[in-house]
């Protein structure tokens, strides 16, 4: 036995039509039918076991982490639904073959249809909650595709979206509900869940999960107040309406309630919610159906009403009610599907569905008419038809409950009213369409459809009759096993007979009949009465609601995400402030135990200078040149501070970086406005000042606390191993090129990338070169003063020499590749400034891009060298040699690494500044080209 194939066959079937489409409509339709047929056959093979009351199971591991497994269970209920889904499905395939016009893509249509079929099959034979939900969502998706099959028309799109949104929302609720059930039971296995009904009903969260699950069911089965999407799903091709929106998908919600009946039902809450929702839906649907002029509209609302009836039955918490529900599921599926197909035929052959135009079709299509009339009578609950039987049972059950206490008599009364209306609209369907005079200007003259288009209808109508006349023989056993599965215990079905003698249910049916006829006879007054309310169009309301949601979100986004960098930074700083400041509240005393250094005059003056020029920069930031000068002062003092606190390397680096940065900023300032107006309001300035001030205080405090607390670090290790392990006495440098060489590698990479990025920026830059500054003073017309040229030219070799010296000593005394590189770069730049690009170009023929790459390459290669000695990346090597005349000297792989650094730095800085310089010349055009 292999239940997997029951799902798998249709699943494979989804691709069949896409392959066979090109071989013509008949072949396509036929080939599509094969696999579902096999699946149906497979199911029927199990019929024996099922009728013995067994349930078949199969489980395959999938994703244990979420409790999802391929787990199947075939019991009476699943069996019944499988018959409906696959059986009616096959009829629909046949029907659709004739319904679809030549310009519709049959392959796609069938693919969607079979996908949906698979999903339904999956739902009804799932033995795992997650898997059930999976297929549940799949039905929403495939129904979305089917409703929007004619995607060019806006109603189809809107209807599909509405259906998807409503059922999708329900799906999410259902998921939550199922997960809660899983949490309570500790397993997502349906069997386990069904055996723990009491546990679940007793659990504190039962009401919540009940509501969540029911929301899922109600949205799917179009129960009030979620019913509004169903009529708009009628924009789908009629085969879809017949299949999804009457026979199967909308029954999925019913199935869900039936499936969980043993677990969730039996409480007052269940009764309250389910039966009342059912009752309201029943009445509402029946009432509105009467006023629909569109055939499918009428059928849609009648479907809603009948689903309400079934729901009501399930809500009554009585065994026989449940049986009645199951019975009505069967009956409704048969007569409603056939009615939809008939409507489709009429639409197909007359070109209209408007009952104000469709009249007297009996004359034109007697065969179809007869079928439709029988089906409609069954819908009305006329004796000798299956509709009658389940309606009788329904009446009987409404009488046999006392849930509303002394008001219980209301339920049978309202039930009868509902039934009366369903008689009325059935009557209208029959009378208006097939009799009642002559058709009114129809697009086509009506005629009988192709022979085989009627076959599905005939089969279903026959079923209505057969079941109606010999219920016990035809559906007795099926009904028995199915309802036993719902109730999880055996139920005797004694009332499956046409004649129970004269009793109240019969009376109620009689009243319903009479009432219905009366209503229909006086419909004019009703129609007039109804016409004074303008009927709300769910589609427009829905779209408007969605639109308003969207608009609100857009307003919110526009307000928050207003594209002002200043606000974003402000938020960033606020957040930072909160994060840094709050912990300080726990800081007992900020002065730690570490002895402090006494203050001396030099430092004071330095600090004063620093503070003042920093503040000056901030104050005169709009007079940019001035600000820039102050800024550079700050930079100088900072490097002095480094020198003061025994960090010569830092001092040197800071200094050289300072120079290059300032040159850069000056160049930039040449292209940017030299001064700007006051922009920020004082309010804003003060707010910003407060925030940044607070941040300053916080950082300062932390800094002080840090400085005054003693610390034991890993640095002693570096001091200890620098000479012995790293071969250098300048510990900082050894850390850079050895202990933490990897950082340095990254660092020069950053520099290189920056250079590339800047080159990229400049290449596409279309900037006009100002001839005079803001104040209108012309820039100097002698860009390269004679004196300067001479000096800088003579300086160049000296500078290069210095840089070599700095480079070589780096490993043991302050210096190193980086600083050396910067010095070299500055020296070359000086040449640029002095002589201009044209003068340099022929003389300096280095490709800086290669230089950067080469630098990084050398550094990396040095690191890789250690692999030869089977050491990890960047392991260094060094040794001391003794050469005559020169004396002892050291060779270290670190030096090679440093060379890489040197090259990269020179390359990067040159690439940046040289190209920037080019912007001031005719060279610009050239750069454009090579981009």
């Amino acid at each position: 036995m292999n239940l997997l194939w029951v799902v798998l066959l249709p699943l494979i079937g989804t691709i069949v039509p896409l392959l066979t489409e090109r071989f013509g409509r008949n072949v396509c339709a036929f080939s599509v039918a094969i696999l579902p047929a096999c699946s149906l056959a497979l199911v029927l093979m199990y019929a024996g076991d099922i009728f013995n009351g067994e349930a078949l199971r199969q489980t395959i591991e999938w994703i244990p982490a979420i409790g999802l497994e391929l787990s199947f269970r075939l019991d009476g209920l699943s069996f019944l639904f499988l018959l409906l889904i696959l059986g009616i499905g096959l009829l629909i395939i046949l029907y659709a073959r004739y319904y679809l016009s030549a310009k519709d893509s049959m392959g796609t249509f069938y693919a969607y249809l079979i996908l949906f079929m698979t999903a339904m099959v999956g739902i009804v034979i799932s033995n795992n909650l997650i898997q059930l939900w999976l297929f549940w969502e799949l039905t929403s998706i495939s129904s979305f595709l089917l409703i929007s099959f004619w995607s060019h028309n806006s109603d189809a799109r809107k209807g599909a979206r509405m259906a998807l949104t409503v059922t999708g929302a329900g799906g999410l609720a259902l998921l939550a509900g199922l997960l809660m059930i899983g949490n309570i039971v500790g397993s997502y296995d349906l069997d386990t869940v069904l055996n723990n009904g009491d546990l679940i009903r007793a659990h504190a969260t039962y009401p919540i999960l009940l509501i969540l699950v029911l929301v899922g069911a109600f949205t799917k089965s179009a129960q009030f107040p979620f019913h509004f999407w169903l009529p708009h799903a009628m924009a789908a091709p009629t085969p879809v309406s017949a299949y999804l929106h009457s026979a199967t998908m909308v029954k999925a919600g019913i199935f869900l309630m039936a499936r969980f009946y043993p677990v969730l039902a039996g409480t007052d809450l269940w009764f309250m919610i389910v039966s009342l929702t059912g009752l309201i839906t029943l009445l509402l649907g029946a009432y509105i159906a009467l006023f629909k002029h569109d055939l499918k509209g009428l059928l849609a609302y009648s479907t809603i009403s009948h689903l309400g009836l079934i729901t009501l039955l399930l809500g009554l918490n009585s065994d026989l009610a449940a049986v009645a529900a199951v019975f009505h599921i069967i009956n409704h599926a048969t007569f409603k599907a056939s009615l939809f197909m008939a409507a489709g035929i009429i639409d197909h052959e007359t070109g209209s569905r408007d009952m104000r135009k469709l009249n007297g079709l009996m004359k034109y299509m007697p065969h179809t008419a007869t079928l439709a009339i029988v089906a409609a009578m069954s819908m009305a609950g006329v004796p000798l038809l299956n509709g009658f039987l389940s309606k009788e049972m329904f009446f009987a059950e409404t009488l046999d409950q006392s849930m509303l206490g002394s008001l219980s008599w209301l339920i049978p009364l309202l039930a009868t009213v509902g039934a009366a209306f369903s008689v009325a609209y059935s009557l209208r369907f029959i009378h208006d369409v097939f009799f009642n005079g002559e058709p009114v200007d129809l697009p086509k003259t009506p005629k009988e459809p192709p022979r085989y288009m009627k076959v599905p209808v005939e089969i279903l109508v026959t079923l209505c009759l057969v079941v109606g006349i010999f219920p016990a023989y035809v559906v007795g056993d099926l009904l028995h096993v199915a309802s036993s599965a719902v109730l999880a215990h055996d139920v005797p079905i004694h009332n499956l007979a046409i004649w129970h003698g004269f009793n109240i249910p019969l009376l109620m049916s009689f009243l319903a009949m009479v009432g219905g006829i009366t209503i229909y006879y006086n419909r004019r007054h009703l129609f007039n009465f109804q016409s004074q309310f303008d009927e709300p169009d769910a589609k427009h309301i829905f779209e408007r609601v969605i639109q308003s949601i969207v608009n609100t979100s857009q307003r919110i986004i526009a307000k928050l995400e207003n594209g002002s960098l200043q606000r974003y930074i402000f938020l960033l700083l606020l957040f930072t402030l909160a994060m840094a400041a709050l912990p300080l509240l726990d800081l007992a005393q900020n002065a730690g135990s570490r002895p402090q250094i006494p203050i001396d005059g030099v430092t004071i003056t330095g600090a004063l200078l620093l503070i003042l020029s920093a503040i000056a920069t901030a104050i005169w930031h709009r007079r940019r040149f001035l600000a820039l000068i102050f800024l550079s002062v700050v930079g100088l003092v900072v490097s002095l501070a480094f020198a003061q606190f025994s960090a010569p390397d830092l001092a040197l680096t800071q200094l050289s970086v300072e120079i290059v940065t300032i040159i850069l900023l000056l160049l930039a300032l040449f292209f940017l406005p030299q001064s700007t107006q006051k922009e920020s309001s004082n309010r804003r300035l003060s707010i910003d000042l407060v925030v940044s001030g607070l941040l300053g205080c916080v950082i300062g405090t932390i800094c002080f606390a840090m400085l005054t607390t003693p610390l034991s670090t890993i640095s002693d290790f570096f001091l200890a191993n620098s000479k012995t392990g790293g071969g250098g006495t300048n510990v900082v440098n050894v850390i850079l090129v050895d202990f933490r060489g990897f950082d340095t590698l990254g660092e020069i990479t950053v520099l290189g990338i920056a250079a590339l990025g800047i080159f990229k920026l400049i290449a596409k830059m279309r900037i006009s070169m100002p001839t005079r500054d803001d104040k209108g003073r012309a820039w100097s017309n002698d860009p390269h003063p004679m004196m300067f040229e001479m000096v800088s030219q003579s300086l160049l070799p000296l500078a290069l020499l210095v840089s070599v010296y700095i480079f070589l000593r780096g490993h043991n005394v302050p210096g190193g590749g980086f600083i050396a590189g910067l010095i070299t770069a500055v020296a070359i730049i000086q040449q640029y400034i002095a002589h201009g690009v044209q003068w340099i170009k022929p003389r300096v023929t280095i490709d800086y891009q290669w230089m950067i790459a080469g630098g990084i390459l050398i550094a990396t290669a040095t690191g890789l060298g250690s692999w030869i000695f089977d050491k990890p990346f960047l392991s260094t090597w060094f040794d001391y040699f003794d050469l005559p005349w020169i004396g002892e000297f050291e060779l270290a792989s670190a030096m090679l690494f440093d060379l890489g650094v040197y090259l990269t730095v020179v390359g990067a800085v040159m690439l940046i500044l040289a190209n920037l310089g080019k912007l001031t010349t005719s060279e610009r055009t050239q750069i454009k080209e090579n981009d």
Binding site: I597, E679, D688, E747
Partner: protein, 121 residues
């Protein structure tokens, strides 16, 4: 001494952040530069202050913590790369958008409080 040092860091940070909050690219760049000074000093401070500790072995009995120095060095270099990039970006931005406002467009009626409302609304 520590107090003064911390004070300097604080002031630099304040000025830095204040300038970063301004609306023009060049000002923001200057702010970032100030900020990076503050950051470097701060990072340096994480190794505590030594007046005459040696950085080179064998020069003196006590040494200043070399690790933060190395870190600051890296930070300086990276900072330089970033500053360079953002400066050129500022120029590019002006070239593309015709002004040097960080949002590419000058807010209307700068004198009015609208600018601040824009942010605090």
């Amino acid at each position: 001494m520590e107090a003064i040092y911390a004070l300097c860091v604080g002031v630099l940070t304040t000025c830095g952040f204040f300038l970063v909050l301004r609306g023009r690219t060049f000002t923001v760049v200057m702010g970032l530069t100030l900020l990076s000074y503050a950051v470097n000093l701060f990072l340096f401070a994480s190794g505590r202050l030594k007046l005459d500790g040696a950085a080179v072995l064998g020069q003196s009995a006590e040494y200043s913590d070399p690790l933060p120095q190395a870190l600051v060095l890296t930070a300086i270099v990276i900072g330089f790369a970033m500053t360079a990039f953002v400066v050129i970006l500022a120029m590019r931005s002006r070239a593309d958008q015709g002004n040097d406002h960080v949002d590419g467009k000058i807010p209307v009626q700068p004198k009015k409080s609208s600018a601040s409302d824009k942010r605090h609304s």
